[in-house]
Structure formats: C-alpha cells, structure tokens
C-alpha cells in the first residue's frame, strides 16, 4: 500500500518538527511548510492526501489557504484539517464554511491526532 502523504503547514517550527516525526513514525510521508504561500507551493508539488493547516499563519492566514485549496478542482481529493488553539464555536463554523474536513484543537495529544488522521484516511 502506498504511503499516505501529509503536508503540515505551521509557522511554529517546533510543532512542525513534532508532527513530522510522529507521522513519519506512523508510516506517513510527511512534508512541512512554515507559511501559507510555501504551503500552497508544496500542495501543488507534493499533492498530499491530507493537509494539516494552522489557522494562525503570518500574512496569509490558514482560512485563506484552505479556501484556495478547496476552491481548486485539482485538489478536490485533498483533505484539509485545521489546527488551532482557538477552540471556539466561531472557528468551528468558519471551518465548515471553508469546507475544512476536520478540526484539531490545541493543545493536542499526539495519539489523538494520529488516531484522527488515520480515521480520516
């Protein structure tokens, strides 16, 4: 079975590193980006199955990145999971509007997040 590809877009390098190591350990092919622009580049090149996308990004925020991914027919099979500390209702609603496929709140347990991603794929 082909390895599932995960792209982590998160400006906090520590979180990037954390998720890369753990998902790689679970048998995923992982790539990371630290900004929205870089993330979109990598979506095109890497064609991930899942994008873990931080809401709070400098310049282009996570919602905008999500909108662009979902707005492009080319990426119709890519699942987007939003990552944020803002575990508020408004964010959840926003996630739905932008057609995000999942939602992970901070702080998160590594086991939980791995389980959630695995369930989705």
């Amino acid at each position: 079975m082909k390895k599932k590809k995960i792209l982590v877009i998160e400006d906090e390098k520590k979180i990037n590193q954390l998720l890369s190591i753990n998902f790689a350990g679970e048998g995923f092919q992982v790539d990371t980006a630290t900004s929205g622009e870089q993330g979109l580049e990598k979506v095109d090149k890497f064609m991930p199955d899942i994008v873990i996308l931080d809401v709070r990004l400098p310049l282009m925020d996570g919602w905008e990145v999500c909108r662009r991914i979902k707005g492009n027919h080319k990426y119709k099979d890519i699942l987007v999971v939003m990552l944020t500390a803002l575990t508020q209702k408004a964010d959840m609603e926003k996630a739905k509007v932008f057609c995000a496929d999942g939602f992970i709140g901070k702080p998160f347990e590594i086991d939980d997040i791995i389980k959630k991603i695995k369930d989705m794929t």
Binding site: D11, I21, N22, P58, T87, P107, I110
Partner: protein, 849 residues
C-alpha cells in the same frame, strides 16, 4: 234760399251801377265804393263790440276794433283823393296813396294778429288805446312831420316803397290764411269759408294795386272792386250770419260744451261698467232702475233682469231695509266700512265684507226720488287684514317673548319699539326716546352705529358690538329694515354678561402658560412663532442666546405641521439640543386655533445621566469584549508552548520512533525553552492582570539609572543576530526613586523588541540623561520602524504590527503594555519617535525624586 239770390242780384246790380258811375265820373265811383267799404267796416265794429259780452271768441272783436280805425283812415283816403280838392293841390295823388297804404297795413296786420285771439281774451280798452296811438302816430308822420315815405309821384307813378308795401301786406294776409287754416275747427264751416274767400280777394286786390299806372286806370278799378267784395264778405260772415244765426256764434261754446258733456257721459258710462264697485240706481221704493254689470254678475243675473225688481225681494235683509228707509226718509247719505253680509241661498260664500255707500238723489222739492247704492267687496282685503293682524300678533308676541332684548330705531334715532326683555334690562321706559340718550354710556356703540352712515336696506350687513350697560355686557346686532314704511334699524341686544365672565375665566386659565415654569411656545401653521411664555426668555437667557425663541422649533416643523394637517395625529414628541442642553418637546396641534403648541421640558440632567450610563455601558461592553479577547489570546498563547511541551514529552517517551541521542537532547531543550516561555507568559499575564485591577505592587528605592542599565545590559550583549549594543551614559545623573526590577523589566522589554525587529549586525543605542526635572532614557534601533498611526497602539495589549517576524520570535504581546503601565505608575511617560534615517526611538522619562 230766396234771400240768398236777392243778395247776389243786389250785389251784381251794385257793381254794375258802380261801373256805370265809373265810366261817368271816376271820383264819384271811388268815393261811393270807399264809402261802402267804410260803412261795412263801421258795421262790423258796431256788431262785434256789442256782441263781445256774448262771445268767447275775440277774433272778431279784434277785427272789429281794427275795422273802425281802417274805416276812419279810409274816409281820409276818400277826401284826400286826387281831384277832391280838400287838401292842397301839391299833395297830388301821394297823400291819398299814403293813407291807403296805412289802411292796408293796419288791415293786413290785424288779420294776421286776429287768429291769436280765437282762444284768448284781451283787454278791449287797452287794444283800442294801442290802435289809437299807432294810427295817430302814422297820421302825424303824414300830415305833421311829413316823414312818411312817398307812395306816388306825379309823372313817375307808384314808388318802390308803395309796391314793396303791397307785397308785404300780401304776406300778412297769407300768414293770416295759414294761421286760420290751423285753427279752422274753432269756426263754423260757412263762416270759415267766407273768411278765407274774403282774405283771398284782398290779396288779389293788393296785386291789382301794385301795378296801376295812375289813380284812374282799370287796375285801380278792379282793385277797388275786389276790396269791396272782400269787405262785403267779411260783413256777410260776421254781420249777416251773425244776425241770422246768432246762436251759431254766441252758443258755439255752449255746443262745444254739450259735446264734451256727451263725451264725459260715455266716459262715465264706461267707468260705471268697468269699475270694481257694484253700483245700483234705485227708485224710492227700492226698485232697481239700473245696475252695472259688476253688480249684476255678483248676483248672477243679467243687467236687464234687475230692472223693475225690488231690491229686498231679491236680497231680503231687515237691517239693510231699515237703513235704506232711513236714508230715503232723512235724505242723508250713509256709508259703512267692511260691513259683513251673508248672501241668502249662497252659504258657500260665507260671510262677505262690503264697503258701501247709499246716496239719496233729491228732486227740486228736496224729496228723495232715487238712491244710488255703491258696494265694494272688501272680503279679500278683510281676510288679508285679518291674516296680517294675526301675523302681527304673532310677531309681536314673538318679539316680546324671545330671550333677547330688541328695539327698532328709525333714522332719526327715535326708539320706535322695545320688547319686554330690553325694557327689563333698562328698568325704565325707553320707547320714544332718542337712542343715543339711552345708550349714551356706550361710546363704541355710537361710533359704529349704522345711523351715522345711513341705513341701507338692500345691504343686510350685520354689525356686532359689545357694550356695557349698568354692569351688564350686551352684544348688539344691527340690521337694516323697513318698519311701518320707514327705514329703521332692528337692534338685538344679547345679554352676554355670563358668557363674558366665563370668557374671562377662560382667559385667566389661558394665561397659565405665561406662568408655566417650562417653556411654552405657540406657532401658526406657517411655523412662525405667535406666542412664547416668559420661561422661554429665561431659558434663552440661561443659554446666552439672544432672544431667538426659534431655536426651540424643531428643524422638521414644516413636516410635522403637514402631518398634523393631514389629521392623522395631533401630538408628537420631539427632542432637541440647544447648546449643551437637551429638551423634550410635546408638540400639540390645536386646529381650533390654527396653531401648534410646543411644551418644552428640560431633560438635560436626565440626558446627561443617560449619556453617562451609555458611556459606562459602552466601557463595560468594551472591557467585556477585551476580556473575552484577552482570554482567547491568553488561552492560545498558553496552549502553543503547552502543545510543544506535551508533544515533545510524548515523542521522547515513544519508543517506536527510535530517536537518537541528539534528537532527544534537542527535544528536551525544546521542552525547557517552551516551559520558560510559558513561565514568562504566566508572569506577564499576572502583571497585566494586576495592572488592570490596580494591584500591581512596586517597591521604590533610590536607584542610579546608569548602574541599573549597566547591570542588565550584559544579558543582551551576546545575541544570535550579532547586534551591537552601545550604552552612552551621562555622568553625575541624580538618583531616582523607582522599583528597580520593574524598570529593568521595561528596559528589557524594549531591548528584546528592538533585537527582534532589527536586522542582523545592526546597532542598538541606549542612553540616559537629565532633561529638565526628568531622567530620560532613549533606546534607538535600526529596525523596520513603526508607522505613525501605530506609535500609540503598540502600547496596547496584544497589539502586533503585521511583519514577517516568525512566531518563535514573538513575545507575549504584553510587554509594551506592561512597560507603559510601569512607567505611568512612576509618574513618567513612554513614547516612540522615529530614529532617522531608519528605525525607532523608544523614550521614557521618570521624574527625579
């Protein structure tokens, strides 16, 4: 008949005889002819003069008087005739011709004047005197003064004067003919014919006399013949007809009178037939001799039917019969006004009323032979009168009982009528008095009184005035009218004393807005102020607005009035602000006064409290919002390091990952780093929380600022960006009383920010110096700088400028806010300036002791 022929034959014989005489001796002919003429003239005079008392026609009398003078002149003419030898020979034919002309003038002019006296009379003595004077003067002009124009000159013949005179005389005769023709009806036809013929012959005779060459020729002869006939005809007309048919002349007037009488009779008959009066002519036994058709019609019979019938057989009535007998026996006429009568057998007519007169006609012995009965049906008039009386009674009682005082005043101001109510008001007799003497205490009344201008009936103008009579207020209404056929004024007095009192009370009540402590304004429907009370002035004064009450009118007043006029609402609430004051306005529509009233209420205090409350509320809302935001930020900021710590701890524990030692060490380092960050965050949040609820504790001590900076700067000397930090001290700076740790915290926050935003290997300068009574610390960097609009905002909590600075370099976002609070607690100030050419200057100052 026979007599007439005799006259004609005699006349012819006379003329033939004269002609014979003429052929024998002209003088003899002339003398006889002229003597006959004179004789006729005298005869005419004698007759007319004597008949003057019996005739009204002075035409003949005037001719008669003129004839006696012409007769005498003619005698002189005869004796002065050429060859008579009475006057000296040198006069020749001239003197006789002159007399002749005088005679003809007199005759012609007399004939001309006479027709004017057909219907007029004159004083005969005066006329005789005038004739005498004129004729005497003419004789004198011929015989004494010798000024009369020559008429005949021997050897030449007739003078121009003579001929012209004849023509003039012809004109007079012609004029006479014309005048007689106009009044021909005044004459008996035969007399008139003779007169016309006579005058015509005179005219012909004159024509002959105009062209005779000498006193003896044929023209002269014929002239005399015609004159003779002419005079004869006059004689005939007056003398012969006058003697033979004297009554024709004398009683001519009488005849004319008779004719007039006939005419009058027919007029009377017509009147009798056509009059409204019922006329009957009765004999002394009351049998009808005659009734007129009106009378007959009334009794439904023909006129002839009545003749011979007895009045009381037809219309039996004892009372009337008694009256008739009384009139017949006493001979005194009697008359009644509106005497009632019932027609026997005609009950449907009911009672009828008659004005009647019974006049007795007496014979020469004084005995009553006939009676004339004249009846006029006044039933209708009586009925109308009755109705009028009723209606008059009705109006009288109406006038007397209506609750208004009333009078009627004529044009002179006499009070003609007063009703009871008005009399009661005055408590004295005012009827017959002059209105101004009664109403004298009312000056206004007299000024507007219509009597001053004259009463105009066609104008039904009503004038109202209020006046006060003895404590009572009356309202007077004048109306022009006709009263008893004269122009008058009907005055109606209404006692409005009570109404007036109520009005006064209302007025009193209405004055209340004046004393209303709140402003009240009244506007007309164009939005113009028509009233405002003193409270308005007071408020304006308080507001220091110079008496312009229009500030109280809402800007939309026209719209409001429009809506009012539509009638949907009559009250609206409005709020306006004048100066720093707020007013609530109740705006009422009062259509009965065509006005809008504004009741103003000062609600400034209320409004201020409200505003305060609003501000407070907003503040609360804002702080609530901020708190919510703060919590969300805090939770995020705390969660990020927590996630790392937890995540790496889990990762380290995860045996599956088979981490090498280096990785393990890095992750442990991460956990330490994030833990510290978490610690910082927590202390910052604590600080800010303390600052916000005012419980931030500071412990002040005397501090040397240079020392402080030197001690703490070393920790920044070695940094990842190799940024050089240069400190410049001013020596001998005074000490300041501050919390050393807090000031260190401030400087630390600023420098770490500066390092964060500065490019690698740039320079950060720090200096402290004394400025006035402050110690001022400036930290300059060569970083990206801060735009002006952000210079204040960076001191707010969690404010960040969008930059490319990555998250790991971010602080808590609270540092500058905490710094500002710390400096302010020390009574200092912190601000940002641009560091030219590039970077920012963070400056704070703290007062020295």
């Amino acid at each position: 008949m026979y007599e007439k022929y005799v006259n004609i034959v005699f006349g012819f014989l006379l003329l033939i005889a004269l002609y014979v005489i003429n052929t024998y001796n002209y003088l003899l002919f002339h003398s006889i002819a002229e003597l006959v003429i004179s004789a006729i003239a005298f005869s005419v005079f004698i007759f007319t003069w004597n008949a003057r008392k019996y005739t009204d026609n002075h035409f003949y009398l005037f001719l008669g008087i003129s004839f006696i003078f012409t007769g005498f002149i003619n005698l002189f003419h005869i004796i002065s005739y050429k060859g008579m030898g009475v006057f000296p020979e040198h006069y020749g034919a001239n003197i006789s011709t002159q007399l002749w002309i005088v005679m003809r003038y007199v005759t012609g002019i007399s004939f001309f004047i006479a027709p004017f006296f057909v219907k007029r009379k004159f004083n005969e003595k005066l006329v005789v005197t005038i004739f005498f004077v004129i004729i005497s003067a003419l004789f004198a002009s011929i015989f004494y003064w010798n000024i009369f124009p020559n008429c005949y000159i021997d050897g030449i013949g007739l003078t121009r004067f003579k001929k012209i005179s004849e023509y003039i005389i012809i004109l007079f005769f012609s004029g006479s003919l014309y005048l007689l023709w106009k009044i021909r009806k005044e004459f008996d036809l035969n007399i008139f014919k003779l007169l016309i013929l006579s005058i015509t012959l005179s005219i012909i005779a004159e024509l002959f006399f105009t062209f005779y060459a000498n006193a003896y020729d044929t023209a002269n002869l014929l002239g005399h013949f015609f004159i003779l006939i002419s005079f004869y005809l006059i004689y005939k007309s007056i003398l012969i007809i006058g003697i033979n048919k004297p009554h024709d002349i004398i009683f001519r007037q009488l005849k004319q009178g008779e004719e007039r009488l006939k005419e009058e009779k027919s007029v009377i008959a017509a009147v009798i037939e056509n009059t409204e009066a019922h006329l009957a002519y009765l004999d002394s036994d009351f049998n009808f001799i005659f009734v007129n058709s009106t009378y007959a019609k009334m009794n439904k019979h023909s006129v002839d039917w009545f003749v011979g019938k007895n009045h009381f057989r037809i219309l039996p009535n004892e009372e009337n019969e008694f009256i008739f007998k009384k009139v017949r026996d006493t001979g005194e006429p009697i008359s009644f006004k509106a005497k009632p009568f019932k027609f026997p057998g005609q009950p449907e007519l009911g009672v009828t009323y008659w004005d009647w007169t019974l006049t007795p006609i007496k014979d020469s012995a004084g005995k009553v032979q006939h009676l004339v009965l004249s009846l006029v049906d006044v039933t209708e008039a009586k009925r109308v009168e009755e109705m009028l009386r009723e209606s008059n009674n009705f109006s009288q009682s109406l006038l007397q009982t209506i609750p208004f005082g009333m009078d009627i005043v004529d044009e002179e101001g006499n009070i003609l009528f007063v009703n009871k109510k008005l009399e009661d008001l005055f408590r004295e007799k005012i009827i017959g008095k002059k209105c101004w003497s009664v109403y004298r205490d009312d000056k206004k009344q007299c000024i507007i009184c219509p009597l001053r201008k004259g009463i105009n009936i066609s104008e039904t103008a009503t004038i109202e005035a209020e006046c006060v009579f003895g404590g009572k207020t009356l309202q007077v209404t004048h109306t022009g009218m006709i009263y008893k056929g004269k122009k008058a004024i009907l005055e109606i007095f209404e006692d409005i004393t009570d109404r007036k009192k109520v009005e006064e009370k209302i007025k009193h009540l209405a004055s209340f807005p004046e004393f209303n402590p709140d402003p009240v304004l009244e506007l007309d429907l164009s939005g113009k102020i028509i009233f405002y009370n003193r409270a308005v002035s007071r408020v304006l004064n308080d507001l220091k607005i110079k008496d312009d009450a229009s500030v109280f009118i809402p800007k939309d007043i026209f719209k409001i009035i429009e809506i009012f006029k539509e009638g949907k609402i009559d009250l609206t609430l409005w709020e306006i602000k004048i100066g720093n004051k707020y007013f609530k306005e109740n705006i009422y529509y009062t259509p009965q006064f065509n006005s809008v009233r504004i009741y103003v209420d000062d609600i400034t205090q209320l409004r201020c409290a409200e505003e305060e409350l609003k501000k407070e509320n907003l503040k609360l809302l804002e702080s609530d919002r901020k708190k919510t935001e703060f919590i969300s930020v805090v939770s995020h900021d705390l969660r990020t390091p927590l996630t790392s710590i937890m995540g790496f701890a889990d990762t380290l524990k995860n045996k599956k990952l088979k981490l090498d030692e280096e990785q393990k060490e890095t992750f442990v380092g991460y956990i330490q780093e994030e833990s510290r960050r978490l610690g910082r965050l927590i202390s910052d949040f604590l600080d800010i929380s303390n600052i916000e609820d005012g419980s931030l504790k500071i412990i002040k001590q005397k501090t040397d600022i240079n020392q402080l900076i030197s001690n703490m700067i070393n920790m920044f000397k070695i940094n990842k960006k190799d940024i050089q930090i240069i400190v410049e001290f001013e020596s001998n700076l005074p000490e300041i009383n501050v919390d050393e740790d807090r000031i260190k915290q401030v400087i630390q926050n600023i420098i770490s920010n500066a390092i964060k935003y500065s490019p690698p290997e740039s320079v950060i300068n720090i200096d402290a110096k004394k400025v006035n009574s402050d110690i001022q610390v400036t930290i300059r960097d060569q970083g990206v700088g801060i735009p002006d609009k952000e210079k204040e905002k960076v001191f707010e909590k969690h404010h960040r400028i969008d930059t490319h600075i990555s998250r790991k370099e971010r602080g808590t976002g609270l540092g500058l806010a905490i710094s500002k609070a710390i400096i302010e607690i020390h009574n200092g100030r912190i601000w940002i300036e641009d560091n030219l050419p590039v970077g920012s200057k963070f400056i704070f100052k703290i007062p020295i002791l």
